[in-house]
C-alpha cells in the first residue's frame, strides 16, 4: 500500500482543517489508487500522483475558503457567523498552532534554540539588573537626586581617611550658613569594625558601630521600623546614650523582638538604651561602605570637644530643590575660607561635592558598562546563531513554503507565520531566561563582594520589562532574515532544484557563512576582553604583596578598661600573646593594630633637625613577632625586640619608601625621626607591603613597638597567629586558648587574613567571573554555528563528495577539504574579531592591571583557542564526509538534497 507523503498530508491538513473530511478524502485517494492498480492503470510514480492530487485538492479548498471569507456568493447564513471572527486574531491563532506543530516536529532544534535564547536573555537580564541597581534605580533614600557627598578634597581609593574627612566646625558652618543646602549631616569615619563588645547577654559579641549626627537619618529620609530616632540633645560626649539597631542585627541577635526597644544593652561596659530599630531598606554598608557591616547606630555629638578631635566626619548634604551642585560647592568653599573665630584650631577644608549616586557606584560605572557591552555582544551572537538555525531549518522547508506560496498564501502572511514561529521560540526562551536571571540575580546579591548596592540587585519590574522588550527585538532580529529569505522562494525553482538533487540552500549559503563569520568575530572580541581581565587577575594574584597572608588568622582583642594601670594593660597583652604562642599548631604570634586592607591610618613624621622634611607614612603598632607572622622581610638593621620597652630608647622600623623619602641616598639606620614631641631611632628597614590593596604600590610605612606604647594608642588591636594547619583549625585553637583567660572576650569572630585580601579583589573577581561566563557561552555558540553550517554544507554536497570519492579522492583529501572550509570561515571571523578587539581594547584600559590592552599573549591565546575550537567543530562533519558511500550518494538523487 502506498501512503501519501507526509509533507503532502500536512499540506492537506492546512487546507482542510476538518478531520473527518480529511480522512474521507485520504481514504478515497487510497481507494482510487487501488482501483487504478486493479485496472492496470496504476501511476508510474504514486508519490507524484499523490502530490498532484493533494495539491489540486488543497488549492481548491483554499480558494473555496478564501471565497467564503470574502463574503462569497449565494446564501450562506450558516457560514456567515463562523467567518465573522476578526481575521487577525483568527490568523494569529492559526499561526500559533502551526508554529507549535512545526516546532514539535523539529523538537531537537527547538530545544536548542530555546536554550540558546534562554541563556542569552538570562545573561542580559542579570546584567541589566546589576546596571539597574548600580546606575539606574534611585538610591533607597528620599529624593536621592538631591543628596551629595561632601568630602575634603577628592575621595579616592587609598586616600587617608583623615585627609578626606571634615572637622565639626565646618559642618556647623554648612548647617547654619549655606543657602543652597537645605541641611548637612555627618557620619564618623573612624569606627572600627569590632570596636564594641556586647556583654551580659549570653556569648559576648563584637559589634560594629556607626556614629552619625542626629540629623543624618532624617536628612536621608529614613524612618525607624520600631521605636524612634534619637535627637541631638540625647547624645552624650561619652558614656551611655541612645542607640538604634540595624534590621539585620535585630533579627540575628534578638529574633526581631520589638520588645527590645526601651531595654539597655551593655556595650563596652556602658548601658546603651535601644530607642528604635531601623527598617531593612536602610542598608548603610551597601551604599557607603560595601563589604562592611553595621550592627547599631549611635549618635555623634557635635560639640567643642569633638570639633577639637580634628577631621572625623564624612558629610552628606541635601541640595535645596533646583540648587546647582557646583554653585553649592563654590558656596561651601567660600564658607570654609571665612576667618575662624572659635577657640582651638581648625583644619583646612577643600569642599568637593559629588552626587551621592556617583560616589556610590561611580567607580563601578566602567565595569558595569563593560558588562553591558559584553552582554550586548552575547545577545548579538545569540540572535545570529538562532537566525542561522532557523535558516538551516528553513532550507529543508523550502518546498513546504513554496507550495504554500503557490496555493495563494500571501508573502506577508508567510512572513508573519515565520515571525510567529520565532516569537514562540523567543517567548519560550525568555521564560527560561527570566528563570535563569532570577537565579543569577539571587546568586549575585548573596555574593560577598565589595561592590556597592550588590545586595540590592534583584529582578524587578524594570528588568522584566527589559526582558520582554528584548524578546520582541530578538524575535525581529533572528526571525526576520529567514522569513524574508524563505518567503521569496519560487515554487518552480524550489521543487525543480531539489528534484535535480541540487542544493536547495546554496543561495542561502553565503548568508549563513556571513552570520558564522560575525559570530566568530564577536566571540573573539569577548574572549580577548575576558582574556585581558583574566590575565590582569593573574598579575594581581601574582603581585608581590611584601607579606604572606596565607596561614594567618587574627582575633580582635581589647583591653577596654581605659582606667587600668599601664602595667596591667601590658601584662594583659603579654599574657595573651604567651598563651597564643604556646598553643599547639601555632608557629608564631604577634599583636598588630591594623589588619591588611582594613584601615589606612597615617601619621605625620619629620626630621628633628629639619621639621620641613616630612612624610605621612602608613602606621602600624606591632609586637616583635609581627615580621615573622606576616612574613615581612628585614632589609637592614634589626627587628624590634623584647628589650625595647617603656624604659629604653624609643625605636621604629621603617620601610624602604619612607627611608627614601626622609633620607634619600643615605643610610637610615640609627637616624632619628620625630612624631608628636617624641623622638624615635630607626633600628631596621623592611621591604614595602601592599597592605591596603594588592593593586596599590607600597607607600611609606612605619612600625612602632607596641610595648613602648604600653599597648595604648592601638587602633584596632588584633592578635595574629600563623600556623601550618587550616585557618579553621588555627582559629579554633586560638579561641580555646583564650576563652579561659578572658571570659568577656568575644572569640567567635576570627578573621582569616587571606579572606580579607580575597574580599579586596572581589570586585575584580566579580567582573572576571561574569565576563568569562559570557565569553565561554560565546565560544560555545560560535562553535555550534560553525558546526551547523559546515555539517549542513556537507549534507548538501553529499553528491559532489560522492563523485569525488568515486573518482578516487582519499578520505584524508575529503577531510582536508571540509576542514579547510571551516577554518576559512573561522579565520575570517578571527581576523575581523581580533582587529575589532585591538581597536576596542582602549575601553578596557582602566580595568587592566599590569597588562597592556594589546597584550600579545592574550591575542595569540584567543587565536589558538578559537582555531582549535573551530577545528573541532569542523572535525565531525569532516569525518562524516569521508564516510559518504559514492554509490548511495549518486543513486539517492532527489533525496540527498532534502
Amino acid at each position: 500500500m502506498n501512503a501519501p507523503p507526509r509533507l503532502a498530508s500536512f499540506l492537506l491538513r492546512l487546507a482542510v482543517p476538518d478531520r473527518d473530511l480529511r480522512a474521507g478524502i485520504l481514504g478515497d485517494l487510497e481507494e482510487d489508487l487501488a482501483c487504478l492498480g486493479e485496472s492496470g492503470a496504476s501511476p508510474r510514480n504514486p508519490h507524484l500522483w499523490y502530490w498532484r492530487s493533494i495539491l489540486g485538492l488543497s488549492a481548491r479548498f483554499t480558494l473555496e475558503r478564501a471565497r467564503l471569507r470574502r463574503g462569497g456568493i449565494g446564501t450562506r447564513r450558516l457560514d456567515h457567523k463562523k467567518n465573522r471572527r476578526p481575521p487577525t486574531l483568527e490568523t494569529l491563532r492559526q499561526d500559533l498552532a502551526h508554529s507549535l506543530r512545526s516546532l514539535r516536529r523539529d523538537a531537537g532544534l527547538a530545544v536548542l534554540a530555546v536554550a540558546i535564547v534562554g541563556l542569552g536573555i538570562g545573561a542580559c537580564s542579570t546584567v541589566f539588573s546589576v546596571a539597574n541597581a548600580l546606575l539606574i534605580r534611585p538610591l533607597p533614600f528620599e529624593n536621592p537626586g538631591e543628596l551629595v557627598l561632601i568630602s575634603n578634597g577628592d575621595w579616592k581609593r587609598g586616600q587617608a581617611l583623615s585627609e578626606i574627612s571634615v572637622q565639626v566646625s565646618h559642618l556647623w558652618a554648612l548647617q547654619n550658613d549655606s543657602r543652597l543646602l537645605s541641611d548637612a549631616a555627618g557620619f564618623f569615619l573612624f569606627d572600627g569594625v569590632g570596636d564594641h563588645t556586647l556583654t551580659g547577654r549570653g556569648e559576648p559579641e563584637r559589634l560594629a558601630r556607626l556614629s552619625v549626627t542626629a540629623n543624618f537619618l532624617p536628612l536621608l529620609g529614613v524612618r525607624p521600623q520600631v521605636g524612634r530616632l534619637f535627637t541631638e540633645g540625647e547624645i552624650p560626649f561619652t558614656g551611655p546614650g541612645p542607640i538604634l539597631l540595624t534590621h539585620g542585627f535585630w533579627i540575628r541577635r534578638f529574633g526581631g523582638d520589638p520588645g527590645i526597644v526601651g531595654q539597655a544593652l551593655t556595650i563596652n561596659g556602658d548601658p546603651m538604651t535601644v530607642v528604635g530599630v531601623l527598617p531593612a531598606s536602610f542598608d548603610f554598608p551597601t551604599v557607603f561602605a560595601p563589604g562592611t557591616r553595621v550592627d547599631f547606630i549611635a549618635g555623634f555629638p557635635l560639640s567643642q570637644e569633638t570639633d577639637q578631635q580634628g577631621n572625623t566626619l564624612a558629610l552628606v548634604g541635601r541640595l535645596r530643590p533646583g540648587a546647582d551642585i557646583r554653585a553649592a560647592q563654590a558656596e561651601a568653599a567660600l564658607l570654609a575660607e571665612r576667618p575662624y573665630t572659635g577657640d582651638g584650631y581648625r583644619n583646612s577644608f577643600d569642599p568637593r561635592f559629588t552626587p551621592l549616586r556617583d560616589h556610590v557606584s561611580g567607580a563601578f560605572r566602567a565595569a558595569v558598562l563593560l558588562l553591558a557591552g559584553a552582554v550586548g555582544l552575547v545577545m548579538l551572537i545569540v540572535c545570529t546563531n538562532v537566525s542561522n538555525l532557523l535558516l538551516a531549518r528553513g532550507a529543508t522547508r523550502e518546498k513546504e513554503i513554496a507550495i504554500r506560496a503557490a496555493l495563494g498564501a500571501e508573502r506577508r502572511r508567510l512572513i508573519r507565520q515565520m515571525l510567529t514561529e520565532s516569537l514562540v521560540l523567543a517567548v519560550a526562551g525568555s521564560s527560561l531566561g527570566l528563570l535563569l536571571a532570577l537565579t543569577g540575580t539571587r546568586g549575585l546579591a548573596r555574593m560577598d563582594a565589595s561592590v556597592p548596592l550588590l545586595t540590592e540587585v534583584r529582578l524587578d519590574g524594570a528588568a522584566v520589562g527589559f526582558t520582554v522588550a528584548l524578546t520582541f527585538l530578538a524575535t525581529l532580529v533572528f526571525g526576520l532574515m529567514p522569513a524574508l529569505r524563505l518567503s521569496g522562494v519560487e515554487l518552480r525553482e524550489s521543487l525543480g532544484e531539489s528534484s535535480r538533487g541540487h542544493s536547495t540552500g546554496r543561495r542561502g549559503g553565503w548568508v549563513r557563512g556571513a552570520l558564522v563569520v560575525s559570530q566568530v568575530a564577536l566571540c573573539c572580541v569577548l574572549l580577548v576582553g575576558a582574556g585581558l581581565l583574566g590575565h590582569s587577575f593573574l598579575r594581581v594574584l601574582d603581585v608581590d604583596l611584601g607579606f604572606r597572608p596565607d596561614g594567618v588568622v587574627a582575633l580582635r582583642l581589647d583591653h577596654s578598661d581605659y582606667s587600668a594601670h599601664p602595667e596591667t594593660v601590658v601584662a594583659y597583652y603579654e599574657e595573651m600573646l604567651r598563651r597564643v604562642e604556646s598553643t599547639p599548631g601555632v608557629e608564631a604570634a604577634a599583636v598588630t593594630d591594623v589588619l591588611p586592607t582594613a584601615f589606612n591610618r597615617r601619621w605625620g613624621v619629620s626630621l628633628p633637625e629639619d621639621p620641613e622634611t616630612r612624610a605621612v607614612p602608613f602606621v602600624r603598632v606591632v609586637s616583635e613577632g609581627y615580621l615573622d607572622v606576616m612574613g615581612l622581610s628585614l632589609v637592614a638593621g634589626r627587628n624590634i625586640d623584647p628589650r625595647d620597652d617603656g624604659s629604653s630608647r624609643r625605636v621604629v622600623l621603617i620601610n624602604e619608601a619612607l627611608a627614601r623619602a626622609l633620607w634619600p641616598g643615605q643610610d637610615p639606620l640609627g637616624r632619628k625621626l620625630s612624631r608628636s614631641r617624641n623622638e624615635y631611632e630607626v633600628v631596621g628597614v623592611v621591604r614595602g607591603t601592599r597592605y591596603l590593596h594588592p593593586e596599590q604600590a607600597p607607600g611609606p610605612e612605619i612600625f612602632f613597638a607596641a610595648r613602648q606604647q604600653s599597648y595604648r594608642n592601638l587602633s584596632m588591636p588584633h592578635v595574629l597567629a600563623r600556623g601550618p594547619g587550616s585557618p579553621t583549625q588555627l582559629a579554633a585553637a586560638v579561641r580555646e586558648a583564650l576563652r579561659p583567660f578572658d571570659p568577656d572576650l568575644p572569640v567567635q569572630q576570627v578573621v582569616v587574613i587571606q579572606d580579607l585580601l580575597n574580599r579586596s579583589l572581589s570586585p575584580r573577581r566579580f567582573l572576571l567571573l561574569l565576563l568569562t561566563g559570557f565569553a565561554g557561552f560565546a565560544i560555545f555558540l560560535a562553535a555550534l554555528g560553525l558546526y551547523g553550517v559546515i555539517s549542513f554544507s556537507v549534507r548538501l554536497r553529499t553528491r559532489e563528495i560522492g563523485i569525488r570519492s568515486a573518482l578516487g579522492a582519499s578520505p584524508s583529501d575529503l577531510r582536508r577539504r571540509v576542514l579547510s572550509d571551516t577554518l576559512a570561515l573561522a579565520g575570517a571571523g578571527m581576523a575581523l574579531g581580533l582587529v575589532a578587539a585591538w581597536m576596542l581594547g582602549r575601553v578596557l584600559q582602566g580595568l587592566l592591571f599590569g597588562v597592556a590592552s594589546t597584550d600579545p599573549v592574550t591575542f595569540l591565546g584567543v587565536a589558538a583557542l578559537v582555531g582549535t575550537v573551530a577545528a573541532l567543530a569542523g572535525f565531525l562533519p569532516a569525518s562524516r564526509a569521508t564516510r559518504v558511500d559514492p554509490v548511495q550518494a549518486l543513486s539517492a538523487g532527489g533525496g540527498a538534497g532534502v
Binding site: 474521507g24 485520504l26 481514504g27 481507494e31 487501488a34 450562506r76
Partner: protein
C-alpha cells in the same frame, strides 16, 4: 421561498445522485454515478467542495462509515439528503419543469 436562489446545475446533479445512491452516497460513488449516467466528469476536488458547500447550506448531512483496509484504514464520508435538501431539490425540479412545460417540442423540432 421567493428569495431562495435555485440550485446550480452541478449542485442539482449532485443532490440527485445522492438521492439515487441512498445509503451508499460518498464522493467516489457520486462521481461514478454522474459519469456513468450522464457522462459528466467531475474532478475530485470540485466534488468535495460542492458536497461540503451543500453540507454547509444544510442540504446534506455528512456521516462517517467504517474504516477499511482498502482505504488505508480510513472511513468513507457518506452524505445523506436533509429535509431542507429534499425541499431545495423539489423546488429546483419544479422550477425547471415549469419552465420546460410545453416547450420540449420547440427544441425537438429544431
Amino acid at each position: 421561498m421567493e428569495n431562495t436562489s435555485h440550485l446550480g446545475e452541478l449542485e442539482h446533479m449532485v443532490l440527485l445522485a445522492v438521492l439515487r445512491l441512498g445509503d451508499g452516497a460518498y464522493s467516489r460513488s457520486i462521481r461514478e454515478e454522474l459519469e456513468s449516467r450522464v457522462g459528466r466528469r467531475v474532478s475530485r476536488s470540485v466534488a468535495y467542495v460542492t458536497l461540503e458547500r451543500m453540507a454547509d447550506k444544510g442540504y446534506l448531512t455528512p456521516s462517517m462509515g467504517e474504516p477499511s483496509p482498502r482505504r488505508g484504514g480510513k472511513a468513507k464520508r457518506f452524505y445523506a439528503l436533509t429535509p431542507a435538501g429534499r425541499e431545495a431539490l423539489l423546488e429546483s425540479g419544479r422550477a425547471l419543469r415549469q419552465l420546460w412545460a410545453g416547450h420540449e417540442h420547440l427544441l425537438e423540432d429544431a
